[in-house]
Symmetry: C2
Subunit: 441 residues, 2 copies
């Protein structure tokens, strides 16, 4: 695991004033990486600080980076995606974060480095954010036992959880091409559906459009095809984390998913939050893996390590908010639908990653793994409408009187995440949002 | 559909003598594209002609291409993958094939162009073939109703075919990173399996390793996310075809696949034949879509076109051969295990592609779609060992007395494909082969 170091010091403040505000997701202790563009220029790599972006390549060109490690990592940022940075060794990335942290600190505000860096800041409001890596493969897991149980109950009331669930981190391959950055609109998909009482299926716009609130993580480094990644080395293969909305058309899913799993019900769009919060920044917020009950099996040896049991989890709180078209027109604020804890997941990120490579499947830098819907045991922690409304049987009433079973055209779904711990500065993930557009004509 | 043109003329012969042999897969009527390297040089794009490769970029540099169309397509070959060629418009690709065909014809053998081209040939025996495109996403279908029925019978004797099968082209996302070119070894995967009579699962080398004989096709062009590709435009979105071995660990699959489909049972390796036989070269071999029985549903309108019904199929014969370690030591020839017809598939390639994009999923040039196991109704047309041996219950006896239920270490699986039609020259696909290595220690 990554140790706590000086970049986590809660006493640190930045000369970027907005980074010191209580409400920011991006204090100087965070420094997540992202890919942005402004105006006609090509995309570049930046780190978020308050409401500003510091252009990493520009820092390199302005000779603001001193150590060999930081220099090498910043060189890797020149390509305009995070893939090369995710290929670089961890010490380089850590060295770059340390130098950027020092450059942005309050006590440096009078120095020449800080003055030069200040001229390289880009206001977030002027920037467009991109999917931060060329994602070679995207894998979606199903790691919340509460989600799996809640969904399973709808199909198999007597036997909600399948026999493999507590032994295997269940996952499937998602679609890389349709991963979009927060803010991209999502067109309601058309597809084949069949009502239970219909004789034959029909084709048309999905009527049961849903979101799924998930946590994603990007792969650092790679393994050769045929070689596994042991659980003890899985943490170092995780570059950092983001939020994921795995948009899902439940009516298409119900009809298509047997026997090979979800396909067109998912691959029309997946939204990611654009900032990648590094594993290093999250070191203070690690949590024990979910404890196994007396009646639950221990993880098989390839999924077990003492370190993972102790701190393989992550105390990340994930909120889902909704803003309907009417609320937007009325100037209302988004309303929170749920709040879940990523620490409640049955499998840790390291277990998912080690399982993924356990058969020799080669992971590549920039691959995205997502957790599956983050749901907890309480009603208000359910991370999708399918669960919150019991598949539409119990509509949600919003403060303005509108009801929702599933998403309507014009609905905006927003996800926010944060990690909090007494004695440390709260680290946030930025927004993961998207508006539903009507189906194509 | 692509019309028959002068490149299909059966009277054409090449000054490359091996291209005129009855047994070649690569007569002058074929001219498939591939990516090869020789020695320390980087990969380049070539076309196969007999037992030789003509380097397309070298033809460009030697000023052997005259038309603007051919020039543009050859320019797209400079990158060392086929992605740019798959992005180029069809007329350019067709123009390049026409010029290469003219350059390689027997009657040109005395000309300066042919003499120059002869100096640019690379013997296949000196070349290493690569996966021909950067495959952004790989999707595997399940389009043989005979395969789906045979497999279904093993799990659900009374109800082998699920209710959605004849309405939906069932597919799932596969793994792009572990796609390898013919010849790469395949390490036996480890994984979780659970015997029916075992109390708990265990982790170890798969004991039920299988192949699946499939046909793959690469996407040409792209659609914007949110936009469908109508069935009437699906054929022009198919650049060309190859053979695919979807290696499968049946014991891992049986334990992991519910409810989200195959994952580690498949993603350890997928082998493709390296030559992409263009849709244009295959124009003479198109066949009607599989006729629907009176008790079978018609395709929904988004999967139906008169042209697809008439010639959406492809009369491609696919053979699987096995060479065991003992046979290799004894100098024996590979033995054929099965021979299936791709024209027997329940869904055509155009239907699979149109279905894939019907929800607005964006396809990209170089994406690979595969058909699923090609099996027919007869016993000797079953395209995997799971079917041929009834899940190991009926072992195959090989000519030398060895028996096989599933693949053993050292076994080499070879797939060959060809399209034949009276009045036309047979077009082949080259080999798709791989040897099973023992599991990692």
């Amino acid at each position: 695991m990554t140790a706590i170091n000086e970049t986590h010091d809660p006493a640190l403040r930045s000369w970027v004033a907005s980074a010191n505000e209580q409400t920011t997701d991006f204090p100087i202790q965070n420094l997540p990486f992202g890919v942005f563009s402004r105006g006609p220029g090509g995309p570049g790599v930046g780190v978020a600080i308050g409401d500003q972006i510091l252009n990493v390549s520009a820092c390199l060109e302005a000779n603001l980076l001193e150590s060999d490690a930081a220099f090498a990592a910043a060189e890797a940022c020149r390509s305009g995606t995070l893939n090369a940075l995710m290929t670089a060794d961890r010490l380089s990335v850590s060295g770059l974060r340390l130098e950027l942290s020092r450059l942005l600190r309050d006590e440096e505000s009078g120095g020449s480095g800080a003055r030069a860096a200040a001229s390289l800041l880009v206001p977030m409001s002027d920037a467009r954010m991109h999917v931060p890596a060329d994602i070679g493969d995207y894998t979606d897991f199903y790691a919340s036992v509460d989600h799996a149980t809640n969904i399973g109950k709808m199909f198999r009331p007597d036997n909600p959880l399948l026999p493999n669930y507590k032994h295997v981190p269940i996952g499937y391959h998602g679609r890389a091409s349709s991963i979009v950055a927060s803010g991209a609109t999502v067109r309601r998909p058309r597809g084949q559906t069949k009502a239970a009482d219909a004789e034959a299926p029909s084709f048309g716009p999905s009527r049961l459009l849903d979101y799924e609130a998930e946590v994603g993580f990007y792969v650092a480094g790679s393994n050769r095809r045929g070689d596994a990644i042991p659980i003890g080395r899985a943490e170092e293969s995780i570059f950092g984390f983001c939020l994921v909305n795995d948009w899902s058309a439940r009516d298409i899913q119900a009809w298509e998913y047997q026997p090979l799993g979800p396909f067109l019900s998912k691959n029309f769009a997946t939204t990611v939050s654009p900032w990648v919060v590094t594993s290093e920044a999250l070191a203070p917020f690690r949590a024990p893996a979910r404890a196994r009950g007396a009646d639950e099996p221990s993880p098989l040896p390839y999924l077990f390590s003492a370190a993972n049991e102790e701190e393989g989890g992550l105390a990340l709180t994930l909120e889902v908010l909704l803003l309907t078209e009417k609320m937007r027109a009325d100037g209302a604020e988004p309303v929170r639908l749920s709040r879940g804890s990523f620490a409640d997941m049955f499998w840790t990120p390291a277990q998912m990653l080690a399982h993924h490579a356990s058969n020799g499947c080669n992971l590549r830098p920039g691959d995205l793994l997502a957790s599956g819907t983050v749901s907890g045991s309480s009603d208000d922690s359910r991370g999708c409408l399918m669960e919150l409304t019991s598949r539409g049987a119990k509509p949600i009433t919003l403060p303005n009187g509108e009801e929702r079973c599933f998403l309507e055209d014009g609905d905006e779904v927003l996800m926010r995440g944060s990690c909090r711990r007494t004695g440390f500065v709260t680290v946030g993930f930025g927004e993961c949002r998207g508006v539903v557009e009507s189906a194509s004509k």
